[in-house]
């Protein structure tokens, strides 16, 4: 009953649960093999503040050293929970070409995160097939951005 008292406009408990689930914080970046970030997106709902975005960047980039060591110890592409900062967790997906897809999240949805990485990897491969795209340069395609955000809403 406390929940209904705090949120009087909610019609049911499902609304409250969905809001809590959707409030996950997530920041996603793609780092090329030369340690240059080529794509960045804040894909969470709650995190809209500028200082929060900068903190997310720091956490993800700090985890690069751990990924550098961890990538050579396993043949798996998906490295889950390689680093954590308070309640935030870093999961990474390393391609065979050593492009790194890095996600900062506070949810515990390992299967969804892995599926998200795999589908973004496909989008990234399609970007590489564009003869006009310079490999290693920033991905500025609005289509790519739209699809990544849609996948984030679907899986994360």
């Amino acid at each position: 009953m406390i929940s209904f008292f705090l949120f009087p406009d909610l019609e049911s408990l499902e609304d409250l649960i969905s809001i809590l689930i959707m409030a996950t914080t997530a920041c996603f970046i793609i780092v090329s093999r030369n340690d240059i970030p080529i794509y960045e997106a804040e894909v969470g709902v709650a995190a809209k503040r500028e200082d929060a975005a900068q903190l997310h960047q720091f956490i993800l980039h700090a985890a690069l050293d751990i990924v550098q060591d961890l990538a050579w110890t396993t043949s798996a592409m998906y490295l889950k929970s390689v680093d954590r900062f308070n309640e935030l967790v870093v999961s990474v997906y390393v391609t065979a070409g050593h492009t790194r897809l890095m996600l900062l999240h506070d949810s515990r949805n390992d299967d969804g995160i892995k599926s998200f990485f795999q589908e973004v990897h496909e989008l990234y491969i399609k970007t590489l097939l564009n003869p006009l795209y310079l490999p290693g340069s920033r991905i500025t395609s609005s289509h790519f951005d739209t699809k990544v955000r849609a996948l984030a809403r679907k899986y994360l």
Partner: protein, 176 residues
């Protein structure tokens, strides 16, 4: 068992060929780069038409040869036939491919990394650079068509036109 080549390898090879001639060998001479790429296509077309006509009788007129290019030749190269063929009956043919395979993955999305920071992303310079880079990729198929037709006894000039991606028109002008 037919010998086949991975399509992604061919795509990567074409991308690298155009990048080499435009950005390295003839970095400041786009006309020379275009001519060189077209010459490579001419050689490829010359050889391919010899191979794909191995089991068919010789052509009796120009229209038959053009039809061969539109149907069998195009199917071998791009897995589909030309969508539309027009002619003015005076030596000019327009071959329209509504989804040209080598343009299907092209995307003109001006990137801030490719343009200097002082220029606007949507400036005419960025757009024209992308259009020019894309037109460079079309000299190769133009050369293929010209080489194939020349090998079949039809000297001609071929140019390409892109109205809307990934549709592409090839204009073939037969030399008298």
């Amino acid at each position: 068992m037919v010998r086949e080549v991975s399509e992604s390898c061919v795509d990567s090879l074409l991308t690298e060929m155009v990048a080499c001639y435009c950005n390295r060998f003839y970095a400041n001479k786009p006309e020379l780069a275009a001519r060189r790429i077209e010459a490579i296509g001419y050689q490829v077309g010359h050889q391919l038409s010899e191979r794909y006509t191995m089991e068919r009788p010789r052509f009796t007129d120009h229209l038959e040869a053009i039809k061969f290019i539109c149907k069998d030749f195009w199917s071998e190269l791009f897995k589909k036939q030309i969508d539309n063929l027009k002619t003015n009956h005076r030596g000019t043919f327009v071959l329209q491919d509504n989804k040209f395979r080598w343009l299907a993955r092209m995307s003109i999305d001006p990137s801030t990394d490719n343009v200097s920071p002082l220029e606007d992303i949507t400036s005419p310079t960025a757009e024209s650079k992308a259009a020019q880079a894309m037109s460079m990729h079309l000299y190769f198929p133009c050369g293929i068509i010209r080489g194939a037709l020349s090998n079949l006894g039809i000297p001609c000039a071929v140019s390409a036109d892109i109205s809307n991606l990934p549709a592409c028109s090839f204009v073939v002008r037969i030399k008298a």
